[in-house]
Symmetry: C2
DNA sequence: ATTCTGAATACTGAATACAGAATACAACAA
DNA sequence: TTGTTGTATTCTGTATTCAGTATTCAGAAT
């Protein structure tokens, strides 16, 4: 089936990518006319897209209605990860009865290949794809939406891996094992543990960073 | 300070209220021209508001770009409550060090008065205000946003109390005690227990409802 | 009677125009 | 020199128009 799309969706996607890539910088004020000209559209779909991104807290509006790219603090990133800790583990519980074996196999293979080759970039990609998959395949719209957005936002701030493959590889395998044995509670707890450790690493980073600045 | 607002915000608010009140019915298809005329605005701010509500999953867009009010199933409401179970308890953890004693006192008084007078409507109002307060006062934007939206959505489907005051009154007092003694972990667990029991009640309702239909 | 096709009508997305508010700058007064 | 005021310019929110698409209806073909 042909899926009807709109310019708004396209502009929204492009702007998101520009934020994620850093082309639009945190704190940068967006001027509608300039941006519309740059993207080759009128202000109408652009304004729609800006409002949507604002509604997702990626953009911030001042009292004078100037829109800027949100500056996400490490503290806020930690909160996002804490939210993901419970939401993504909930998603794993829901996903366990329905995830296809071929997906489980694919992720296990991707993680293992990258890990054994000590290819951190490949491992990072597998990591990102895995978490993205869990969000996208979650069978409930509301949870799917929140996971997608919080995942995107933490990715904007934190490029690369918080913890190295040596730490996370076995955790990923454990989650996959629970999927495979169709153990929802196990999958939920395995994912919770996985992300909680990342949260704790971020808190360590925050605290050492704070000590440097203090 | 005077806060600048827009027609979009106003239309958004009115539409949300119309959905919550049932004036716009689940499944109802919204026609932009008619609705704009009814609200006394042009289609422009209306269209913006519709997109925002769609982005929050309150409205659903078909492939032909017709927008209708989302029909939320009991299963989906349960998922929303499960999300709230962990997110609202997380918010309680964050809120515990900063919540003002006068707010604690006010909620305790409101719950107690309504409970002792056996006034279920007053109790329901105190209940709603309490949960709304926790969402609104959460010091982190992203969590605040998700809580506000999931709270609104569950309220649209589930009018009134899931469980009676006799069950929840003591649970509310326990949360307030943890706030008062500045015990974040206690507050988090007390709220988690409170909502989990509600989740379990909803699952019972779902399962008995399923049996009737089965 | 049923199905198909084309035209008319209704609806939506995007562009453009207009009005009001915000900002920048120059001139004037103290 | 500094502070205030007035004016010009820029920017944003909203209304309107236009073009494209979806839906409905009537007539023709089977």
């Amino acid at each position: 089936m042909i899926r009807r799309t709109t310019l708004v969706e396209e502009v929204y996607r492009v702007l998101r990518d520009m934020i994620a890539s850093g082309e639009l910088k945190p704190g940068e004020v967006l001027v509608q006319d300039q941006l519309a000209e740059k993207l080759g559209v009128s202000r109408t779909p652009l304004l729609h897209a800006l409002r949507l991104l604002e509604s997702e807290n990626l953009l911030i509006r001042s009292n004078t209605h100037r829109v800027s790219v949100r500056q996400l603090t490490l503290e806020e990133a930690i909160v996002l990860f804490e939210m993901r800790e419970s939401l993504e583990s909930l998603a794993c519980r829901y996903l366990t009865p329905i995830i296809a074996q071929e997906d489980i196999d694919r992720f296990r293979r991707d993680f293992t290949l990258a890990y054994e080759k000590k290819n951190v970039e490949e491992y990072r990609k597998a990591d990102t794809a895995f978490h993205l998959f869990i969000a996208e395949r979650c069978p409930y719209l509301d949870l799917r939406t929140v996971l997608a957005r919080s995942g995107f936002m933490t990715k904007c701030l934190i490029k690369g891996l918080v913890r190295p493959p040596e730490e996370t590889y076995e955790e990923h395998l454990e989650i996959l094992r629970c999927f495979e044995t169709r153990n929802p509670i196990g999958a939920e707890e395995a994912m919770r543990t996985h992300i909680r450790r990342t949260v704790e690493r971020l808190k360590l980073l925050r605290d050492s960073h704070g000590a440097l600045e203090g």
